[in-house]
Amino acid sequence: MKAAIRHLLRNRRRSILALAAVIVPVFLLVLVLAMVGGMERDMFLNTIRFETGHLQVRRESERPKGGALPLIRDSAALVDLVGATEGVEWYMVRLELPALAASPDRSVGILVQGVDPDRVKRISPIYRMIEQGRYLEAGDDGVVVGVQLLKMLGLAEGDGLILLGAHPDVGMGVARPAIVGIFNPLDPELGRVIVQVDLAVAQRLVRAPGAITSIVAQVGGVDGPWDAWKIDQVVARLAERIPDGYEVIGWAELAPEFAGFMRILRPLTYGIMVIFFLLGGFVVLNILYLSILERTRELGVIAALGATRARVMSMVLSEATIIASVGAVVGALSGAGLVGLIERLGGIPLPGLYTEMMAMMGMETVLRLRITGVEIVLSALAMIVVAVLSAWYPAFKAAKLEPVEAMRHA
């Protein structure tokens, strides 16, 4: 080991190059994983806030997806069951239906969300986006709308918004709540499509007092998609106990496009990083191979003195292990250090152009980073494995040297 260290110190420039070939991929991997981790968490949490919750209980329906959800007219027992299920941390009822929003001279297709204003704040960020007026209050006969929809209809705060609900279970219903608040989301589509009313207003719209379309629940201890197994457990638990005619739907099924994106994000990241790792490994291979060529005579002497092939190989591999270990640790620590610094400074603010794009993907406008200690350690270990495997060929060539031939080498 001492000899290996001295060999590395003997040609410092080359050793530094080899170190860099190990440090850079590990550093980048830690940084990229932290960015991906932050994006996953933002997207996961925000999607859940806007749309789905961790799980929903609905009435089973033969209708195609995307249409109006079937009504649950008597939900009390079902709500109690969800609330009493182990792992469920929070729940609320919601009534969603497609509707037509109209002003005296214009109309637009929208989605009405009937909610309990006090409880919905936990998952819906709309109350935080209120730019004008106020958010809903319990028993409110008002509506909050996006600034985009408001512009399309040519209405203002205080005006009545005509909502024409059409539900296949009950036919048509009309309501005309007053606009009490205007929200301005980063994603303009959200501001164009969603309006929120008190649950009672929505029930009036479907002419079904007490009706809901879903129970939305959140599971405790979920910080991102990596905790999705906890949700799956609760979904399975609830599915066993739910009465016939109802279904429990997990987040992945509720937001399939998002779940699909989540499924490819990591493999895509790993795929790109594999290329970096292989490049790093290739540099290590070349540098060690050059080193072996330069030391042909010395290796011949070592073999002549009685070193077996395994011994010669282990000498070369120990050099690779030193380079790989030092480089991987430096790369991992510097990457983790930068991630920690960025997080301490509050994340990476995204420039305006990206802000809308990120918002559309359900992300925050400041990119937060997240990486676990296990990911950092695995990043370093992966590079050590790649570098040592890359050294295998030069080590094998060294072990195959014939002592007499090698000692003739100048």
Binding site: R6, G306, A307, V404
Partner: protein, 230 residues
């Protein structure tokens, strides 16, 4: 007169094939060497001296014939078996010293013992002792490039004898040394032979060394032409 047969060859041949042409380096060498001998092989350049040493030390394989070292036939041994045989039974001294540049003189001396798996304290103790005996203890912590050629060759001899091999094969050990240093080295090896019973076989045409050996073999065109006991 030493009696124990240490090394013998039977009709040993080595032919090099290069670009369709055959070069006979050794042409039927029969040789017996006994423990404790201090022997030299002399002969002109290209007579096959180094080739014979390589075959005797298991560094190379003969085209035909047999080599027996300490009663063990080298033919049929695998590469690693030959390595282990060299490690435990043969010490080498090369013309160009061939110390490992990243190891100190002490570490170089202890290197074969390290390969043998001898405990660190023991090998350091033995290495220091032999360096002291050969008069280069003061260079123990120097790297080879910081000491003279003569001192490097002494260190190489120390490395060759420290693990007490059955035989030390030395290929032109004085060729790169000046006269005074050569003489000192020859005397040192002679003393190791006389005091410790170390067996030496040299390939050399250094007359100073040839004058000091007990037995002189002459090799011409790959054949032993004379075998002179003194």
């Amino acid at each position: 007169m030493p009696e124990q047969l240490l090394l013998n060859t039977i009709d040993l041949k080595k032919v090099y094939e290069t670009k369709g042409a055959s070069t006979i380096a050794l042409d039927g060498v029969d040789l017996e060497l006994h423990a404790g001998e201090f022997t030299a092989i002399a002969g002109p350049s290209g007579s096959g001296k180094s080739t014979l040493l390589h075959l005797l030390g298991g560094l190379d394989r003969p085209t035909a014939g047999e080599v027996h070292l300490d009663g063990v036939a080298l033919a049929g041994m695998s590469r690693d078996e030959l390595a282990r045989l060299r490690l435990h039974k043969v010490g080498f001294v090369f013309q160009a010293y061939n110390l490992i540049p990243v190891l100190t003189v002490l570490e170089n001396t202890a290197f074969t013992m390290e390969l043998q798996g001898i405990a660190r304290n023991e090998r350091i103790k033995r290495a220091r002792a032999i360096l002291a005996e050969l008069g280069i203890e003061q260079y123990a912590d120097q790297f080879p490039n910081r000491v003279s050629g003569g001192e490097q060759q002494r260190a190489a001899v120390a490395r060759a004898v420290v693990a007490e091999p059955s035989i030390v094969l030395a290929d032109e050990p004085t060729a790169n040394l000046d006269s005074k240093t050569s003489l000192a080295l020859i005397e040192m090896m002679r003393r190791l032979n006389e005091e410790h019973g170390a067996t030496f076989l040299f390939a050399t045409h250094d007359s100073r060394l040839l004058d000091r050996v007990d037995r002189l073999l002459t090799l011409v065109d790959g054949r032993v032409t004379t075998d002179e006991h003194r």
